[in-house]
């Protein structure tokens, strides 16, 4: 077959440096904040301790928020019940750890990590299953109706929280971290909590794994395309509803993982912990840009770092630092830092 098109050489217009910088700015915000934190704190060891603490907190919030942002991006579903999966994950994970106390309490890093791994797997399995039931029973009947979604998912959250009270009792549960994850290590004069380093590692691994899944696999392509234009994905032959259920289940399981991580971080769990976390999770999802996993990642790190820096520098402002961050980012980019362009 001969060439059908006219002989022309298409090229991209060169993008000015200022536009490229503006596009890359959200990614640069984290290192900029870290440098500003260093300048404001002055003491390198305190800065390092606070930075690791902020990154650990950010990673845990990202784990909880990633599923929520995808659920909204794919099917425009606002799930206020997401917090319930955080709480259930924490209770299942901690119960599993209590059951494996001989491993969790042993002075062996391997046994401690195996105990945590089993606790995480149990939490993710239960919250994944719960997520599937939640989607089928509570979310499915209210597709496309945002007000009803808010009402029924808040109702679902309350029911699940009360079920936690029924199963585990109304009291908060205190716990201690596995033996080898207690205490800190000293690095360049800074005390770095071992558990926070583990949390940073888990968050990073998860983010890289998610990125690879979205970039290198067909299901990842379907999800990315579905967030942008679900109708067109269906017109290409993919059943987006099934993909959505899978994402909902995965997002619920990740919330469960986040719940275990947060419980071990705080060393106390309550039925309402997920609900309390949802404020930070929603801030992260909104400033990241609805539907954007990368945006949620950057947003979570900003929230974690800023809260830790401000708590050190000006404790009275710590409570409002994240709301201030959200206000500033939304004034700069009203749709969040990296919004997914919706074609609906």
């Amino acid at each position: 077959m001969t060439t059908l098109a006219p002989d022309h050489k298409p090229t991209f217009a060169s993008v000015p440096l200022s536009e490229r910088f503006a596009a890359a700015l959200p990614v640069l915000l984290v290192p900029i904040l870290v440098v500003l934190g260093f300048l404001a704190i002055g003491n390198p060891s305190s800065w390092l301790t606070l930075t690791v603490s902020g990154l650990a907190m950010g990673m845990m919030i990202f784990v909880m928020a990633s599923g929520l942002t995808l659920v909204f991006g794919l099917m425009d579903v606002i799930n206020f019940g997401h917090g319930a999966f955080i709480s259930v994950g924490a209770f299942v994970g901690v119960s599993t750890l209590f059951g494996l106390s001989h491993w969790a309490g042993a002075p062996s890093l391997t046994l401690n990590l195996i105990a945590i791994l089993l606790a995480v797997l149990a939490a993710m399995a239960v919250t994944g299953l719960l997520g599937w039931a939640f989607e089928r029973i509570i979310v499915k009947p209210v597709y496309g109706a945002h007000l009803k979604q808010i009402l029924v998912t808040v109702g679902g959250l309350i029911v699940i929280e009360q079920m936690i009270h029924v199963i585990w009792g109304p009291e908060e549960i205190f716990l201690t971290r596995p033996e080898m994850l207690k205490g800190s290590i000293t690095f360049w004069g800074a005390a770095l909590e071992k558990y926070r380093l583990l949390a940073v590692a888990i968050g990073l691994i998860l983010f890289v794994a998610m990125r690879l899944t979205f970039r290198r696999t067909k299901i990842g392509l379907i999800v990315r395309a579905g967030v942008e234009n679900g109708e067109m994905v269906e017109a290409l032959g993919y059943r987006l509803r099934i993909v959505f259920v899978g994402v909902f289940v995965a997002g619920s399981a990740l919330a469960g993982l986040g719940g275990v991580m947060w419980g071990l971080y705080q060393e106390v769990i309550t039925a309402g912990m997920g609900e309390e976390m949802m404020i930070l999770v929603f801030i992260v999802v909104i400033i990241g840009g609805l539907g954007s996993v990368e945006g949620a990642f950057i947003g979570a790190l900003l929230v974690g770092l800023l809260q830790n820096y401000i708590a050190f520098l000006e404790p009275k402002l710590a409570l409002v630092s994240n709301i201030g961050l959200m206000t500033a980012i939304l004034m700069w980019r009203p749709q969040g830092m990296m919004p997914v362009v919706k074609a609906k």
């Binding site: 001969t2 059908l4 991209f12 990315r224 395309a225 017109a235 059943r239 362009v341």
Partner: protein, 245 residues
């Protein structure tokens, strides 16, 4: 369409479609001949796009029947219609702008990997897609996006192509590229139902024509018949094809 009932790949009978509270299609009757190009013509707002979207299942048909390749698909979900062999190029092109050209094409090959032979055929029809294979689709020009949109439907063997205004808003040089590619698709024996406002393109590619007015097909016949009768054109569409081409 009396002369198009011999081997219809698609048949619409008394199709009614509502969008929210608005009744858009008022009983569309249409036949699309196998291996031919049928042009759906008419003024803006008469229901051409809604007809294509109803065929694809993107709007729900509440009355009437849509038969595709011998099977009634009126209640079939959109993904199943696509898997049955209907390719759709929407008016807004439906490009996934955050994905690369390659990723858009990979996704379009729903039943398996895009074969190298087919990819080369697409590159021959649309050379810019080869140039920008690894670029984000959002960075393409309007014409290149339209090429990608049509190329996506060519990623797999389709029994029927639904193409909504492929030359809308494009520069004349790109329109001729598009027309050449569509002719090539036609020469491969594809069945195509196309909405097109550019009458020169419609006349050059179309075998049959159906004209819509107020949510109904008011005339159907061969393109030659319509193209040669200026009075009929003015009567059906309010202007002559020659004047608007």
């Amino acid at each position: 369409m009396s002369n198009q009932t011999s081997d219809a790949i698609l048949k619409l009978q008394n199709v009614h479609t509502d969008i929210a509270q608005y009744h858009i299609l008022h009983g569309v009757d249409l036949c699309v001949e196998r291996g031919a190009v049928t042009m759906l013509l008419g003024r803006n707002g008469v229901g051409k796009t809604t007809t294509l979207r109803s065929i694809m299942g993107l709007w729900t048909t509440h009355t009437g029947d849509i038969t595709f390749d011998g099977a009634n698909i009126t209640a079939t979900p959109t993904p199943a219609r696509a898997r049955a062999g209907i390719g759709f190029v929407p008016e807004d092109m439906g490009i996934f702008t955050d994905l690369t050209v390659e990723e858009n094409m990979t996704l379009a090959a729903a039943s398996g990997p895009l074969s190298p032979a087919r990819r080369d055929w697409i590159f021959t029809a649309f050379p810019p897609l080869k140039t920008f294979w690894t670029a984000e689709a959002g960075n393409l020009s309007g014409g290149q996006k339209q090429m990608l949109s049509i190329a996506r439907t060519m990623a797999e063997e389709r029994k029927l192509y639904l193409i909504d205004e492929p030359t809308k808003g494009l520069a004349p040089a790109i329109v001729s590229t598009m027309a050449a590619a569509l002719k090539e698709l036609k020469n491969q024996g594809a069945s195509i139902l196309m909405v097109e406002q550019n009458f020169a393109v419609a006349k050059a590619i179309g075998d049959y024509a159906a004209v819509m007015e107020d949510g109904r097909i008011t005339w159907s016949g061969t393109m030659q018949e319509l193209a040669s009768d200026t009075t009929l054109q003015e009567q059906l569409m309010g202007l002559s094809m020659e004047a608007s081409a």
